[in-house]
């Protein structure tokens, strides 16, 4: 039981990290980026190129990956969001899906189909208590999630730029009229969103291996978590992620492992029926 809780929370933390990246972009431009999972995959492979192929220290690989992902986020915005800005939201969403497919195939060409592992930045024997095993990397995942949640919360609510982002999200045109540098604000949102996905990729690759198709399922789970928690709600995304991780793990153990993926969508539908705005309420319900 205790082991299931630990493993469920570790899995849920990954889902929560994907959701946090998704929400950062959503909270600024009100668009769901369905390529978030593929950005995660890209982060994992950039990390592997640095740490495995070029044998750089893992800390340097993390730093390079985060810088690279920030640039990827900005390029993504220029290619996907700007050309379709002001068009119906579904067009942008469809374009993010298409971009996800492009990224997946690009990764297949560049890195090939082989699954590859990334070394964890944390080493050491696992902690064992009462028959429960917690690896150092799992602890690192929990700590990273907590730190990112706090930093993101602080950034959005306590810093000038975060408040500008929220203002842009509420009304882009008015924000521009009052002198907010809207394009720069949006660029920061895309860059940070991609960096968060990259971090999720760096955390996932040591335990789940990296392969070009790894992002599809994780990206979708990130979306489900966002819906469960209430779209746009940061604490909701984290609690939703942990909740989904536990549901999947316990469902696979005590009901049937055949329907593991189905549990996520059954829970999402159940939550939407009972609480149409998610467990913690949506920040915005105009565009999805």
């Amino acid at each position: 039981m205790g082991q299931l809780v630990v493993n469920g929370l570790a899995l849920g933390s990954i889902y929560a990290l994907v959701a946090l990246g998704l929400l950062l972009i959503f909270n600024t431009v009100q668009i769901v980026n369905f390529a978030q999972g593929q950005l995660l995959m890209l982060g994992a492979f950039i990390g592997i190129s640095c740490a495995v192929t070029h044998e750089l220290p893992v800390a340097a690989a993390w730093a390079i990956t985060m810088v690279a992902m920030a640039l990827v986020g900005i390029v993504f915005m220029v290619l996907v969001y700007f050309p379709l800005r002001g068009r119906p939201a579904f067009l942008v969403i469809l374009t993010t899906i298409a971009m996800g497919i492009v990224l997946e195939n690009l990764a297949l060409i560049v890195w090939g189909p082989l699954p590859v592992s990334l070394p964890s930045p944390i080493h050491g024997p696992p902690l064992r208590f009462a028959g429960v095993v917690v690896s150092m990397h799992q602890i690192f995942i929990f700590v990273t999630l907590a730190v990112i949640l706090l930093l993101q919360f602080f950034f959005l609510t306590k810093t000038r730029f975060g408040i500008l982002m929220q203002a842009t999200a509420q009304d882009l045109h008015t924000a521009r009229l009052v002198g907010i540098p809207v394009n720069r604000t949006i660029a920061v949102a895309f860059a940070f969103g991609a960096v968060l996905s990259g971090i999720a990729g760096l955390l996932v690759a040591p335990i789940f291996l990296a392969e070009p198709t790894m992002g599809g399922s994780l990206g979708l789970k990130g979306f489900v978590v966002s819906v469960i928690g209430g779209f746009g709600n940061l604490p909701g995304a984290v609690i939703g992620g942990l909740f989904l991780g536990l549901i999947e793990t316990f469902g696979a153990r005590y009901i049937s492992s055949n329907f593991r993926d189905a549990y996520a969508f059954v829970v999402m539908i159940a939550v939407l029926v009972a609480w149409p705005r998610g467990l913690f309420g949506e920040k915005s319900s105009e565009k999805v």
């Binding site: 195939n105 189909p113 082989l114 291996l209 153990r253 492992s257």
Partner: protein, 387 residues
């Protein structure tokens, strides 16, 4: 009848027989083949089956390149047209239709059984020899006289794995874990049936979706239910994760499964301690060979494609050479090639000999492997009963 007319008749009949003989000889001569000789291949090069699909492409393409570099078949080069199926059966059918437009002499399809099921009817209608590595036992039971399989199938594995586990390794309470797709679930059912024949009940039967990354719940169920061993059936990427997670959770069970356990792709991502002791039964892999030529071949494939050669690479490579030998004998007449494939007997491939059975299965030899650290060792080849 006068002597003259009898003589004329004998001469005429002789002339006709000679002409017919010459015509048959011409038909059976590979020099009458089109140039280049068109081969078609559909396989998964993108999507989540790309790692498997590229093994088919690598094996076939490597053989074609070697043959062409050596002068082709009777001086005619082979032109291999490859179409990507992605991961979907619909796309596999579309890819096959594109290949058929080129009117190939031979068609290869991948090891993905649902793709082959979707393609069989259209290939059969085209009356083109159809060679596959698809592992679902029922692939060759579709009633197509044009379809042949050159890789061992799940039915053979499903019988042999439980038998080896119970009779040789002495384990009587296995847990079963299989990937939840046509490949894994079909094998899981077969394994359960084979265990029942041995009067053994599995401690737990579990599965995971092909996209799943966390299999700890299934492993804990198998452990909690007191299993003494694990029968594992999956692709290299997910088998790697299962073995890693088993090690992380401190679960120590004798593990046996398909060739993924000893695949180089799997071993590359495991430590020696994690990989050590795993058993596999499956198609023959080149890494365990002691023949310097085979090891050199394996190295050259790895260098060219950056992907280690596996049992499927060997199978598709052999298939191209088998076809070369057939075309050299019977020429480019499709029914003649089909008949020659159906009559294959003791044809020596890289690691095994091929022999056709009435259903169109040509591979009947499997390897039993055990990992010693990260090095797979061939415990011994095992032949299907009757071969």
């Amino acid at each position: 009848m006068s002597y003259l007319s009898l003589k004329a008749m004998v001469t005429g009949v002789t002339a006709i027989c000679l002409a017919a003989a010459v015509a048959i000889e011409a038909k059976a001569d590979a020099t009458s083949c089109p140039s280049p000789i068109p081969f078609g291949l559909t396989t998964a090069l993108t999507g989540n089956l790309a790692l498997l699909g590229t093994q088919a492409r690598n094996g076939a393409e490597f053989a074609v390149d070697e043959i062409n570099a050596g002068g082709g078949i009777s001086g005619k080069k082979i032109a291999l047209t490859t179409e990507d199926t992605g991961a979907s059966s619909t796309d596999a059918l579309n890819a096959m239709n594109r290949v058929l437009e080129g009117k190939p002499l031979i068609i290869f399809s991948s090891m993905i059984s649902p793709h082959v099921f979707a393609q069989t009817e259209v290939v059969t209608k085209s009356e083109t020899p159809f060679l596959v590595g698809a592992t679902n036992a029922k692939v060759t039971a579709q009633g197509s006289k044009w379809l042949f399989r050159t890789h061992v199938h799940d039915g053979q594995l499903a019988d042999l794995i439980p038998e080896y586990l119970v009779k040789t390794l002495g384990k009587t309470k296995p847990g079963i874990m299989a990937v939840a797709d046509d490949y894994g679930l079909g094998a899981s059912k077969g394994i359960q049936a084979a265990l029942a024949k041995l009067k053994v009940s599995p401690a737990a039967v579990t599965s995971y979706a092909p996209s799943d990354k966390d299999m700890s719940a299934q492993l804990l169920e198998i452990k909690d239910k007191g299993a003494d061993s694990l029968i594992l059936f999956g692709r290299p990427a997910d088998v790697t994760l299962v073995i890693k997670q088993m090690n992380d959770l401190g679960i120590k069970l004798t593990t046996i499964g398909n060739a993924s356990i000893v695949a180089q792709t799997t071993l590359n991502n495991l430590s020696a301690a994690e990989a050590d002791g795993g058993y596999a039964i499956g198609g023959m892999i080149p890494q365990t060979s002691t023949d310097a030529k085979i090891l050199d071949w394996s190295k050259r494939v790895q260098e060219k494609y950056k992907v280690p050669a596996d049992n499927f690479t060997v199978s598709y490579y052999d298939t191209v050479y088998l076809l070369k030998s057939i075309i050299e004998k019977v020429g480019c007449d499709k029914p003649a090639i089909r008949d020659a494939l159906a009559a294959t007997k003791d044809w020596n491939g890289m690691l095994i000999t091929y022999q056709a059975d009435p259903q169109g299965d040509l591979a009947h030899t499997l390897g039993i492997y055990r990992n010693e650290g990260k090095t797979p060792k061939l415990t011994g080849p095992i032949r299907e009963s009757g071969y």
